[in-house]
């Protein structure tokens, strides 16, 4: 598992939203006041406040009935434009997908993953672009054909037109998504062979926090770095006092599966010598620790099978001298894993120890978890489909908003650019802006390129350097603005990853950030579209 489901900081996100949204609004009002005063004097100044007041009046007086009638109109329009032809493409894809996806017969887990991946990708790649096109095209077309004249000359607020469009496309997209999702679910169930059906589950993991001890037994934040550029995992050295210590919280007997505590791990090995290859992996061991009771219960030695999940089922009642409890401690003593190892506050501490000298075992926070009773595959799958619904709604909101002030083709290109940047470059931008990634400005890079100057040499002092720094600062500020405004679409693709890997989609680490991200754009989109339509002459020649 290479993804780390970090719990969402709701309060932090809310504060961040308030800062960005509040400052954006403040800047917009100040700019409008200056422009209004310069162009129209006192009338322009008061007009800005009247405009702000208008928004609140309209938003508080919107009529659900009118919005619903515009919603129905939007749905009718799309249906009569033969939107449902999308199902033909969908059907064709599914008719032949089985031919291309069946292959890894020796790895049923991979086979299941590829089926789920295909279904979820096919749905999102069909639904989201279509809704993007519809959302960006409808309002400009309405304005171009002047059909909007017969609507705005009725007692319909312009914000209601925007809301009706957004809601109409959302409902239509939702219906398409439900049908496609259902077909996809049936298809997966039929496609996955009987022998691999057990893989269709939604595992519910409980993740802990991780700290390390070095070879002398002293606590450290990280383990060893073996030179891997990807420093996701830290390593512990075998046959020393180096340990990875996982601390799980909130564990109780309801987390048991068939009266067993189930631990699932996927550690990565780093070998300094070939070792005994016939064993099938490096030996390691868990030690269950309860310091309150001075209890250290080691598991039997385990073999770390790489590139697959290692499952350890620990019986609730265990003795030290049985295979699971063999090792340190008072032999023959029976303990209850939930009463004795898990402390009274529900904390469970598990130490991981590599048993082979000269070998290292790499691990990260999500590489070991307590597996609690599984949920049905449908539960995780439905949440993953919901994970397609959220970006779809966001794309619709952005598309309709942008189409309020530019023509259809420009709206499509703009929205598409935002979506692609949000999907692919958001983290890259964050890394540049936070200083995690060393990068000079675009103009400086271009200057160095054409003058064959290496990156270590300082730019010569003078007007050239001054201009380069000024322009690069402008570009960086623009990048900062984009980073603040463009939604992080990467959040949504995480949900698909959960289901592909057999997990239930985490509420705190995936669903909540997705919902909050989508919800955060509702108000800004409404404000931008309101003023775009309000300040626009719908009949400018």
């Amino acid at each position: 598992m290479s993804f780390d489901p970090i719990p969402y900081d709701l309060l932090g996100a809310f504060k961040y939203f308030l800062v960005v949204f509040g400052s954006a609004m403040l800047i917009a009002v100040v700019v409008c006041l200056i422009v209004g005063t310069l162009t129209r004097g006192a009338k322009g100044f008061t007009g800005v406040f009247r405009g702000i007041f208008d928004f609140f009046v309209q938003i508080t007086h919107v009529s659900c009935r009118r919005i619903w009638s515009l919603t129905v109109l939007t749905i009718r329009e799309a249906l009569r434009q033969k939107i449902l032809f999308v199902f033909i493409i969908f059907a064709v894809l599914f008719m032949f997908a089985g031919w291309f996806l069946s292959g890894a017969a020796d790895r049923p887990d991979l086979q299941v993953q590829s089926y789920i991946d295909f279904v979820l990708k096919a749905i999102s790649w069909l639904v989201i672009p279509i809704m993007l096109l519809l959302a960006c095209w409808s309002l400009p077309e309405d304005i171009k054909k002047r059909t909007i004249h017969t609507v705005v000359t009725k007692p319909a607020y312009r914000i209601e037109i925007v809301m009706g469009r957004m809601l109409g496309f959302t409902l239509l997209g939702s219906a398409i998504l439900v049908v496609m999702g259902t077909i996809g679910y049936i298809w997966i169930n039929r496609q996955v062979p009987e022998t691999a059906q057990y893989k269709l589950v939604s595992k519910v993991p409980v993740y802990g926090e991780i700290v390390f001890t070095d070879r002398e037994g002293a606590l450290t934040k990280t383990g060893l770095n073996v030179g891997d550029i990807w420093d996701f995992r830290s390593y512990i050295e075998g046959a020393t006092k180096a340990r990875a210590i996982y601390k799980f919280t909130g564990i109780d007997e309801s987390d048991a599966i068939d009266d067993k505590l189930v631990l699932e791990s996927s550690f990565e090995a780093f070998r300094t010598h070939k070792g005994n290859m016939e064993k099938g992996g490096i030996l390691y061991q868990f030690i269950f620790v309860n310091e309150d009771k001075n209890l250290r219960v080691p598991s039997r030695p385990l073999i770390n099978k790489e590139y697959s999940d290692n499952v350890l089922e620990v019986k609730r009642k265990l003795k030290y001298d049985n295979p699971e409890g063999k090792g340190e401690g008072d032999a023959g003593t029976e303990i209850d894993i939930f009463d004795d190892v898990v402390d009274k506050d529900g904390n469970l501490t598990v130490e991981v120890q590599c048993l082979e000298a000269g070998q290292l075992l790499g691990m990260a926070r999500p590489d070991l978890f307590v597996r609690t009773p599984d949920r049905a595959f449908l539960a995780g799958y439905s949440k993953a489909v919901f994970g397609i619904w959220l970006p779809m709604v966001l794309v619709i909101m952005l598309g309709v908003t942008i189409s309020c002030f530019v023509k259809g083709p420009v709206a499509i290109l703009t929205t598409l650019t935002i979506v692609l940047v949000g999907f692919m470059s958001k983290e890259y931008m964050t890394e540049i802006l936070s200083g995690q990634m060393q990068a000079s400005g675009a103009i400086e890079a271009w200057y160095r390129l054409i003058t064959h100057m290496n990156s270590q040499t300082a730019l010569p002092d003078g007007p050239v350097k001054f201009i380069i720094e000024i322009v690069d600062a402008g570009i960086i500020n623009f990048l900062w603005l984009c980073q603040q405004v463009i939604p992080n679409f990467g959040i949504f693709s995480n949900m698909r990853e959960y289901v592909i890997k057999g997990f239930d989609v985490s509420w705190n680490a995936a669903l909540l950030p997705g919902i909050i991200t989508t919800a955060a754009y509702i108000l800004p989109c409404l404000i931008v579209s309101f003023y775009s339509l309000k300040l626009r002459e719908l009949e400018a020649k």
Partner: protein, 301 residues
Amino acid sequence: MDNEPVIQISNLTKIYRDFWGRKKVRALNSLSLEIKKGEIFGLLGPNGSGKTTTLKLLLGLLFPSEGDIKVLGQPASNVEKNERIGYLPEESYLYRFLNAEETLDFYGRLFKMPAKERRERAAELIEKVGLGHAKRRQLKEYSKGMTRRIGLAQALINNPDLVMLDEPTSGLDPLGTDDMKRMILELKEQGKTVLMCSHLLADVQDVCDRIAILYGGELKVMGRVEDLLKEQDETQIMTSRLSDEAIKEIEQVVAKHNGKVGTIDHPTATLESLFLKTVQESKDRPGQRFVPDTEEKKASE
């Protein structure tokens, strides 16, 4: 007719500007007029004179560059005023994928009309504009005349106090034109105010109480139709058909009173009235050829 002003325009100027804010066209220049409750007011002028611009400024589709507009006592930008307004655009900008019933239902919903009232009103209007036979056909299958009719129906869905009609008879055949004029007069009878733009002068003359003629965005003439058209220095007497002797005697009487006879002729009907008569006869006596009242017909009789 009431003296209460329904539309008040004062010093209205509209300048169209390009992307950079440079002046392109001065479409209206200091237009001031007032339209009273219950009258049919015609806005006339050649193409590009500013008729439609005026209408769109009144509806809030355009923003005035200068001047003030009050419609039903409220600023043009006020959405609430639209509760009492019906608007038929120059070309019926309607959703072509809807049928007549769906169209009226949609617009009725925008007025928050209850479902029952909406259905009844839609059925009544569809019959009134003569589209009962095509109410389930999508508008994209309609002829231009049919589209104008459903356009008028949507303008009347809310039973408005003020109806703004932009070129209401454009694209209509004489029958449709006649129906449209009849419906406009009916609106007046119901106490509604009608503002119509047209360059079909005969239509305006038939229905309007007052007119204003615009040219180059400026108001050139405004007043009551009969006042503006009345020839103050001439007298017209219409009688039944007279013999040549009788005509000579009349000429003598006129001369005796220092008058001068201009023309003496048999009045001709308009082509429109002949057309309407032919259609009506064809309806009443299907299969028979209609023979108009010509000299030849009278001679043969």
